[in-house]
Amino acid sequence: MNHSVTPTRENIEDVLTKLLDPRIKVSVSNEDALDRGIASVYSSKESENRALCVADFGMAVLAGSSFLEIPVEQAHEMLTSGEIRSEVLQSYKEIANILSRVLCDDGYENLRLDTVYPLDAWTSNSLEYSRYQTSVTFDIEIPEYGAGVLAFLVQ
């Protein structure tokens, strides 16, 4: 049975405002799911992949940095260099873990964060985009840090 829930703008904003900054703005984008970025796979208790979350590099760096309160200048240096520091990646992984909440709803099963694939460690083919029926993309504006994109694919 398919128990996954498609995240809404309100769900995402609720989680990110609590985690990062109460002033965060989230809007639904018309763009297709990203085919490059940092991909998080969520699975059921039976280890079946049920949902994917793909953050563009900016989102992963800025959200991870904001969570750890790393200075904005250092976050922007990572954007310029194209390299994410390991503690910032760990921080983003924790955000991705908590974002599993937006894929669950009362009465539905919990999905768990299974695997996080770093930038360029996956393709839409290797993650079998075609198995997911629904996709929704969000533009995220983190005050002072900047903007990023978060896309969800759900079965």
Binding site: F67, L68, Q90, E94, I98, R101, N110
Partner: protein, 127 residues
């Protein structure tokens, strides 16, 4: 001698331990002595040499889960207030936590106001 109140944080994510630590400070317990462990098994070792007024634990962790730790503590007569801070959250988990002697279950993400509401009744009364 003034004894500093101890609070124990158990989570396999160092980032999450840091966030919880920060939230405890922002909740008004900046002078608490925070002790940490990465899972239930490590927590048992830390508890050999510490005496926290409150234990805050993740649910899912390698080696020994938060629930397994709670059951072990209660079985040995340890009645330290024990709160879960967890991403996964179901009514079944709440029932399990309640039946095992948990003091509260707080789901991630949480804000400082929510954490403070859990901490104050326990820690304001702590010796």
């Amino acid at each position: 001698m003034i004894r500093t109140m101890q609070i124990m944080i158990i989570d396999d994510s160092p980032v999450m331990r840091k966030i919880i630590r920060k939230s405890i400070l922002q909740s008004g317990y900046g002078d608490a002595d925070i002790v940490e462990a990465a899972d239930g098994l490590q927590a048992l070792d830390v508890l050999e040499v510490s005496n926290p007024a409150l234990i805050l634990s993740d649910w899912n962790m390698p080696e020994m889960t938060g629930l397994e730790l709670l059951c072990k503590l209660r079985k040995t007569g340890n009645v330290t207030p024990f709160g879960f801070i967890t991403t996964e959250f179901t009514e079944q988990m709440r029932t399990l936590a309640d039946n095992s002697g948990a003091t509260f279950l707080l789901s991630k993400p949480f804000n400082v106001v929510q954490l403070k509401a859990m901490l104050d009744p326990l820690l304001k009364a702590a010796p």
